[in-house]
Assembly symmetry: D3
Homo-oligomer: 126 residues x 6
């Protein structure tokens, strides 16, 4: 794994998730099982793709949220909704993206994504 | 949002879920976050599509259960299995629909759907 | 492969596709490559599932069309739309099933399925 | 179908596809088979969702392209890539969205989407 | 359901899951609801497909794990990861299969599958 | 993009597709539109994942074919079936993988994959 790519990737990840980036990495079970995988994701997904010029970081975040909602990937959606807020995308914008998901991926996909968003945004908590 | 469409949609929803329709609406977290979304679903999905003549309500329910099972949308499947029972579709018919799902969407989709159905039907409870 | 299951399956297939069932079988390339697969489908999908009591053949056809539309399986959808017509399900009913697919699987799935149906029904031909 | 919703939807569609909007509507086979469906899409998807404030039209276009690429809906992707260009989104931005699709939906999804984009952009033509 | 097919299927299942095969069958809720379904799976999936010569049992296990990871079927993935270990496939090989899933089905699919694998392998437990 | 990763990736690609690797690269429309994407795939998918020890190249090929069949990615499936043959995997083994796909992803997925395989293997040609 290339060190420069890893550093470039970690830099993008730190913008999306400043608190996670500041803490220790790789302590969850899947990262203990396959530490190389999470280095691969940092170096390739973030270091080779997200770090490219040609599309604003805000836009990369918005389209990622949209794709994760459409594909029903709720764990990753949770993380990227938090990341989007950290980049300054508003709750209202995110809700609109998730509502529109109903058109292209069906009502259940939008419903599920809004349920995840309610958790991330702390809506409905006591 | 058009009031007539909303009313037409709510009428269909009341046939599928009489008890829910009689109670207060929009109290779950996602509905608190995006109340417009659930009005949109009532007005468009139920008011514009389910309320159309040309296909029996029973058939609309059956094909919805089938699609949700095939797509692995378990939350919505749970709701629509309950709705199907309310419309008079039998457990046996629903089990047959879910078994047949294995042919077109694979055994894991059918297995997951039958697990949801066991919960809805109260099978395996103490 | 069990002969009784195969016979039971072929009987169901003959109701859906009388003309195909009357002709020679297995002449398309995939059937030449894997003749066992198509015997397996006849014996298991049709002989073990479709032939079961507990759900009307018409309902089995309707939910299959719905699932294939939701999953975007256009080749199989074409065959099962033709089969549904052979069982006496009307064009109008099938169009309603496909329109409703937009709610659960998204507008593009419904759009694609209606395009297939237009071909099967000979709509838009010169 | 509500006339105001339909008008609101057609207004959005005219921004995405000015030339289509200026011509006759509903002449393709699926629209001949199910004209109501395309009115439903205009009134609900475009009139009820895309026309909402809270998210820029440019952002709605970008996330739609992203979702269609992730879901492998090539026909709709073709139309929305053209729509995105009409809204002033650049080719470079769209290529970045499609490349990033590899991360969340896999390399084959991105590959297929870039193949569609090459056609829409007239790249590789003689 | 054919007894010979069922026996052939049970024989394969006993190689994948010796402990389950030795115990009572069909005690989970979905099996109580639809006992015929699980006999169908044993007779068709295992008795008609897995029991065929032409592909090593180890290879059948490996490609099944790969498909379940790609499709996001976590319950079945859990069972087949355990089955793969019982056949002698190593943890390292399984981790490599799941990492590679990121290329063809996206990073979230691989991430989810590795999380399941960490549970099956007892990684990250106290 | 790292040169060493790219070289490692190209080496794997040359084993799967010796003839393609020997010819000029990037001449198809999508590669003209997004040449960086195909370098990214070579460096990340092949240079960072496929080139890893821990899983035999033959096994990587087999599970890739299985995943592409399950996901319905026919273009990539075509290429990887050819690659599998180049690695010495037999037609019979590949047909078994594709037949088994019916169990986990449904009969239509297997049917579609076998149709692709018939083309790659030249079965049914005049």
């Amino acid at each position: 794994m290339d060190d420069e790519l890893l550093a470039a990737g970690r830099e993008v990840q730190a913008k999306l998730w400043p608190r996670v980036a500041a803490g220790p990495t790789g302590t969850f079970p899947a990262a203990q099982l396959a530490p190389d995988f999470y280095r691969y994701v940092a170096a390739s997904a973030f270091g080779m793709i997200w770090s490219r010029p040609g599309l604003a970081l805000r836009d990369r975040s918005l389209v990622t949220v949209a794709q994760l909602a459409a594909l029903g990937r709720t764990d990753e959606l949770r993380a990227h909704l938090a990341g989007a807020l950290n980049l300054g995308i508003t709750r209202e914008e995110l809700v609109e993206v998730l509502m529109q998901t109903a058109v292209y991926a069906g009502v259940p996909a939008a419903n599920e994504a809004l349920t995840v968003a309610a958790t991330v945004f702390g809506v409905g908590d006591q």
